[in-house]
Symmetry: D2
Subunit: 344 residues, 4 copies
């Protein structure tokens, strides 16, 4: 049984994490903190579906209580200032922000436009994608919980890249995300009448999830990998569906690649490689920690096409953080995470 | 051919009106004014679908140009201060706000909570529901363009009340509106992730459209009529569907009441009384100036049940304003208003 | 620990029930049956979100295995033919259909238009709304799981009627339901392009949930209660929001009625009477077994207005069935049912 | 003034075309034909928004009346059998199907899987994308109205390919379409509860619009062009947004390419090349005949990225057919087509 804290519990990712931890069988105590609240406030004020389930409060400040792990469900720039003191008190840190995802300081500076306040933290962190780094995560003090898009893209491309099946010179990730990914701050761009029935691309050449994808794929490839990444806004609440395009280095049957993918994820409970002929979709993953993958080969043009679906708030954020916590605290990797999505 | 001005052209109702007037066959010049803009701005910045159709600008201030009519697509409290000077220059005024809808100053004070700045304007105005007051509108200098909900409810109940068919002591209007009715200012309540797939009632006992409905129905009844009115927020862009309940004073067949409704609207091109067995719906009216009505009798309980559908931005706002303009400027009532909705 | 069977496991309600029972802590074995399948088929073919969670099969026929309870998630007309043999084998029967909801054979004939094949079953059944009949359900062999609309309306009106606070001569239920309530058979009326952004009323004077609402409210009132009931189709997946109107017999403050409602449901874990000033909505209940109620008084007109929200597939169907099973099998009433909805 | 006929007027594309032609200023008579109707049926039975606007009937069979043009808004395989006799009577033919889009019989056989019944028709037809073939369309007797996806992709890539700016060996089209594109036949895949909030790819390596895109781009390139094309289903009614990826042959500034695009479409009223910094989206084009394009360069990787938005039923089908008709009948190209979309 563990004691954990969430910094940033009043945001969408933070209260999704609270929802998961409240019903987690190994959590003994949970402290919810958010400096946006002025006084202790029931967490169901932020997530009304929790009313009647819990009276857990969100408080403005942390106290001196000990904990086994602390989550930073905070914007970029917070963990780099605050994580150190939690580490020093012996807690494991799981950070949702870009502060810990990149190992190269220069890349961090370029994409995030801020100076890192704790470079050693950045160096120590392990990229928290359990399907790539499960063993290192178990041993780590600092886990960088991946970006939602980055999880979707990296899980989809990893087996092909690790097995050197594709030409890394022309990778393309066309990603479509529901709007919960944009957080809970109202804006003209998220105003219901402007988004209802709408769809568009955004940040076409400059989304901050690009460098972490490239970092991880480059590690797998053993050389620099770069990709075009275009995110789009879907008029739905939850879910990311990504379509990945990669030229095959040499001709391969779809069955062969299917086997590679199935084998790659055979020991990973939250990646479902769908059988040939079944296409992943958002409804199948909304509400769950699964990432679904469908494998296709365009034989005419010699290209691998992978589609990938996950829930941006769960496998793309809070669920993955719980999965990481389960690893660092030596729980079963699936503890508290085997809820089925609703589908309807 | 006419010259017209719109005050408040940058809001949803104002730019819907601009859209309609730009293709109106009898409009020679159109001046778009909104104090929210700092400099002349193409109207398609606010309504992107107009790009390539018009280069009409929205300007921050009016000039001294003459016009035949001026529209106030403004919040409550503006027309009462500014309309007078336009009247004095000989223009007809069509006001979208609550400043001119109520004849009784005390009722206005109670429901709007502000002191009227031009009581004579309030007295002079004619309630701009052409299906009730077509002849008086033609002669009037000041037209109070009705509220969206008020149009929906009043058109649905008028024939029954005018013909003394229902007991006015137990009228109920259960109304459901798309979210464009809430205007273009972002707010937590209109934030896409919170509204998507959601539905709820609001302002259950205090919506400002109540007194204008009661005023008009009381006039028709020749005695005080009051009703319960509960608005709800539909997770769609456009459209109001209202369900009206009224006890029948004496037993009537649905065919008899159907005839009364058909006759009541026989000369009114924008009210479609659907045949028995067809049920009105939002898609049929979205994008058009029609109000559809379906007539039902619950024989078991002796109640009249009417359903009513319209587009809140057209028959509920800008289209009705054009219809009123057509009347005051002696154009054909349907000029510029016979577009079919898209349905899909 | 219990053994249970679901007849009709391939429909929306049946596979929602399977989803709930698969993670229910007191279920030892589950048999899923549906004559629509030709051979054993994984339940996740019908509910793709269950893939990776369970390999439970849906089979075309039942076998002779014993069970503690059997659910009929079947259309009207099935339980009346098949339930008897399960009763005779000592199983408790929980029926989702209209076959067991009504005690009066004539009312059944009138509203359902079919002759009952097992009148004794109809007489023996207890109406499975635990908030009304918890003790009788515990003792019963046959439970009639209520209709989704009926649950929404009956929970909303019961406290007022039991306490004789309203005039039962003018009750109105204006109900709005998501489209999962229509089942999984494609039809023009449920074709996505025709429903997207649409809204309309249907079956305005003849929905089959009317007589069960009237039966239950009449029992509470100690005299005949009848109501107007108008269902509408919301363009969302899950959820029913009902707005109920009832004239107050005498003037009452909203605080007084609020207290009556809070007291009525104080011992019922799945009804949340929201505090004054908070309005129930669909998102708060989607995915959970809660029914939320908001209490309003229109002082101007002396009317009680209640709004009620629930998930039609959970508290309106499968969740309520589990709640009933928990009672008949002497489990804790909340076992397997305390999941929070997702909200986003 | 012209006389025209629509074969297939009861389908989505056919009644969209009827909607446009009913308000077209140059149409004198319109005959609506669909063998799916058993007797003359008001067109508003299929498109309820037309009620009160027109009483035009859809009839099961054509008569011997003369006409200037006939539209085949029919599935593949109809025009190849029926168009000839209309040509022989001197009418221009505008075909919505795949029967006339491809010049190469072998390619037609491969992708459509049927034998062509009128190869001369196929040879004579001109591909009806006015932005590519305006002059040839004017002279042609048979116009192949392009596929909706094909219009979106071809308009987006043409300027780059004609100007030899991109490497045609690695073109990718990732396209997202609203569900009206799937027609009006109910199916499990289009059942509202299964599609609401959902999103997925389909026909990943075999959509029939591929060969017409490749045919047209190859003509522009002067050599074979092939592309990967992945369509996706958006949970909205109307609109296609495509994202196109192409490696630049040599480094180019975005401003240079922007100029090429602006120039390419300067004389084409229905393509709006948006200024740098503005991103096309579905709402801006829903309800109109415009195709919007946004030009991007990923300098890091040397790739051109174009986004393209249009209304699949208008510029992607019926509007384009009217544009083609305007050309063949020597009307102004924009006649009847300058309606603004609603935006909200």
């Amino acid at each position: 049984m563990a004691h954990v804290k969430i910094i940033g519990a009043a945001g969408y990712a933070g209260n999704e994490l609270a929802r998961l931890l409240i019903s987690h069988p190994r959590i003994e105590s949970l402290r919810l903190i958010d400096k946006q609240v002025e006084e202790a406030t029931s967490v169901w004020k932020f997530r009304p579906s929790l009313r009647g389930i819990t009276d857990q409060q969100v408080v403005p400040d942390d106290d001196d209580s000990a904990a086994d792990a602390v989550f930073f469900a905070t914007p970029d720039g917070v963990a780099m200032r605050l994580a150190r003191k939690y580490l020093e008190r012996g807690m494991r840190v799981i950070d949702f922000s870009g502060d810990t995802r990149l190992r190269d300081p220069e890349t961090h500076r370029t994409w995030y436009g801020i100076e890192h306040q704790d470079p050693a933290l950045q160096q120590e962190a392990v990229y928290g994608l359990p399907e790539l780094h499960r063993d290192r995560i178990r041993e780590s003090r600092v886990i960088a919980n991946p970006g939602c898009y980055a999880t979707s893209v990296t899980l989809a491309l990893s087996p092909a890249i690790r097995n050197n099946m594709v030409d890394t010179g022309m990778l393309i990730a066309d990603c479509k995300s529901g709007l919960s990914g944009a957080g809970n701050h109202p804006s003209p761009a998220m105003h219901f009448p402007e988004r209802f029935g709408n769809f568009n691309a955004y940040k076409i050449t400059g989304h901050k999830h690009v460098p972490e994808i490239e970092q991880e794929l480059s590690l797998l490839h053993g050389g620099e990998v770069r990709l075009s990444f275009v995110p789009h806004l879907l008029p739905v609440g939850r879910g990311i569906l990504s379509t990945l395009y990669a030229p095959l280095r040499e001709s391969r049957s779809v069955e062969e690649i299917q086997s590679v993918y199935e084998e790659a994820y055979a020991s990973h409970p939250f990646v479902r490689v769908l059988p040939q002929g079944e296409e992943c979709n958002l409804k199948s993953v909304q509400g769950s920690n699964f990432c679904d993958l469908s494998v296709h080969v365009d034989d005419r043009l010699g290209r691998l096409i992978i589609t990938s679906a996950l829930d941006n708030l769960i496998k793309g954020a809070a669920g993955q953080a719980v999965q990481n916590m389960n690893l660092v605290l030596d729980f079963d990797e699936t503890d508290g995470l085997m809820q089925a999505g609703l589908w309807l």
